[in-house]
């Protein structure tokens, strides 16, 4: 009897593993977004409620009155706008020098509109770097929108359900961002790593970069707006026999202790796929 019971359990487990692989396959194709959204819609209110209980227990600062909290949120948003403006002005100086001789130059407007959201959870897996925020598609959030704080870039919206969204953090090993070093104008690609720090690669050897230099988004590729603060160079590895130099970059945002984020809602990522799939003429 015990053997039969064991056998039944094994058969049931194998069946559920089969179901799991089927779910995985459907999810990989994007066929389960509605199902995932349904589960998320059901559990998000409970998650928000539990977070509202848990968060004060681990926030050691004295609770401020509501007016001060609101004022703080307003000032934080203003600060983000001013920092963004400051970066834009610095960029403008460089660009003015470069483009002074050109006519009909249109300066990109870098002042964004923001939506503030609370972090209500983190990824349940230790392999993945995601946070969950309490605003979803009903609040105007869409996939691929950039997420920032007053200190700089946090990540991008990877999945948006009606009431919550998942943000892929910039130090995730799934992340690669086109950036430039603000002082030297050197362009490179910033990769997250499994060890949760970030590595700046593909910087030309003749570029002068040093510890303390700020790294901002370059806007290349069209997936992120230009000139969002990303991090600070911690160390540089430059060897004469290498093709490129590399740098270790520390994020300016405390990604472990993040509680409130802002979503840039007026930026639409550029889809480069139609350009990439343009057929090459035969005579080339």
């Amino acid at each position: 009897m015990y053997q039969n019971k064991l056998q039944r359990n094994v058969i049931l487990s194998a069946t559920i593993i089969g179901i799991g692989i089927l779910l995985l396959s459907l999810s990989y194709r994007g066929s389960l977004n509605q199902f995932k959204g349904l589960i998320s819609t059901m559990i998000t209110p409970l998650q928000v409620h539990i977070y509202s209980i848990v968060e004060p227990l681990f926030t050691y600062e004295q609770r401020a009155p509501e007016e001060l909290v609101n004022l703080n949120a307003t000032l934080t948003t203003e600060n983000a706008i001013l920092r963004s403006e400051n970066i834009r002005l610095n960029e403008t100086i460089y660009e003015r020098d470069m483009l002074a001789a050109l006519l009909n130059y249109t300066q990109l407007d870098n002042v964004h509109t923001y939506l503030t959201a609370n972090v209500i959870g983190k990824d349940t897996s230790s392999f993945l770097q995601y946070i969950i925020i309490n605003i979803g598609t009903t609040g105007g959030v869409q996939r691929d929108m950039p997420v920032v704080t007053h200190a700089g870039l946090v990540g991008i919206i990877n999945e948006a359900t009606p009431r919550a969204s998942k943000v892929l953090l910039l130090n995730s090993d799934q992340m690669a961002i086109n950036v430039k070093v603000q002082n030297s104008r050197a362009h490179g690609v910033l990769f997250g790593q499994a060890s949760k720090d970030m590595r700046l690669r593909y910087i030309l050897l003749d570029a002068t970069i040093k510890s303390g230099d700020l790294v901002v988004t370059s806007g290349l590729g069209g997936s992120l707006p230009a000139n969002i603060l990303v991090g600070e160079i911690a160390s540089v590895r430059s060897r004469a026999y290498d093709v490129f130099q590399e740098a270790e970059v520390l994020p300016l945002v405390d990604l472990d202790g993040i509680e409130i984020v802002m979503i840039i809602t007026d930026f639409t990522p550029t889809d480069l796929n139609p350009l990439l799939s343009t057929p090459i003429p035969d005579d080339l």
Binding site: N9, L12, L23, I39, I43, D123, S125, K166, D173
Partner: protein, 168 residues
């Protein structure tokens, strides 16, 4: 049936706690506690019933919905790990501390390996060299410790909610 009802009530709550509460105990990501995994393993150890395997399905679905991974990743990993607990348990040995520790270690290793393998299969960039240190060594000791704490109340609950079958 009561077994499933408890799972439906308990596991979503535990998955949410894993997402909201446990990050505060991660000590800057130095340790990682997998509450749902430990609960599912413990339950399959104290109550190796067919319905207990469904705990892994429910827990996996909840974990996947609170994760950036594809739906089905945690389900598959959790069911595979819980099968170890289910097979490893018997009337005589299920309360032995060596078996408990072995199940916690083997279950955790299998869970992480299957999960990592599925991530790699579905296109995630994975670094196998970091798996032993970054995840196994940081998670397994705490999972074992938690399992030791959870098993007595889990056993008590199992005895309360169900009549013990006698295997002859």
């Amino acid at each position: 049936m009561r077994n499933i009802i408890i799972a439906l009530l308990l596991l979503p709550l535990l998955a949410i706690l894993q997402s909201t509460l446990l990050p505060y105990f991660s000590w800057h990501s130095k340790i990682k506690l997998d509450l749902v995994l430990v609960i599912v393993l413990s339950w399959n150890l104290v109550y190796p019933n067919r319905e207990s395997i469904l705990w892994a399905l429910i827990g996996g679905l909840m974990m996947d919905s609170l994760s950036g991974s594809h739906m089905g990743t945690s389900v598959t990993a959790l069911v595979t790990a819980s099968l170890i607990a289910n097979l490893g348990s018997s009337r005589v040995w299920s309360s032995h501390i060596i078996l408990r520790i072995s199940v916690a270690i083997a279950g955790s290793i299998i869970y992480y390996l299957v999960y990592f393998l599925l991530l790699a299969t579905t296109g995630w960039r994975t670094d196998w060299t970091n798996l032993p240190i970054d995840n196994l060594l940081r998670s397994i000791p705490i999972n074992v410790l938690l399992m030791m704490l959870i098993l007595p109340p889990a056993r008590w609950l199992a005895l309360r909610i169900t009549r013990q079958d006698v295997d002859i």
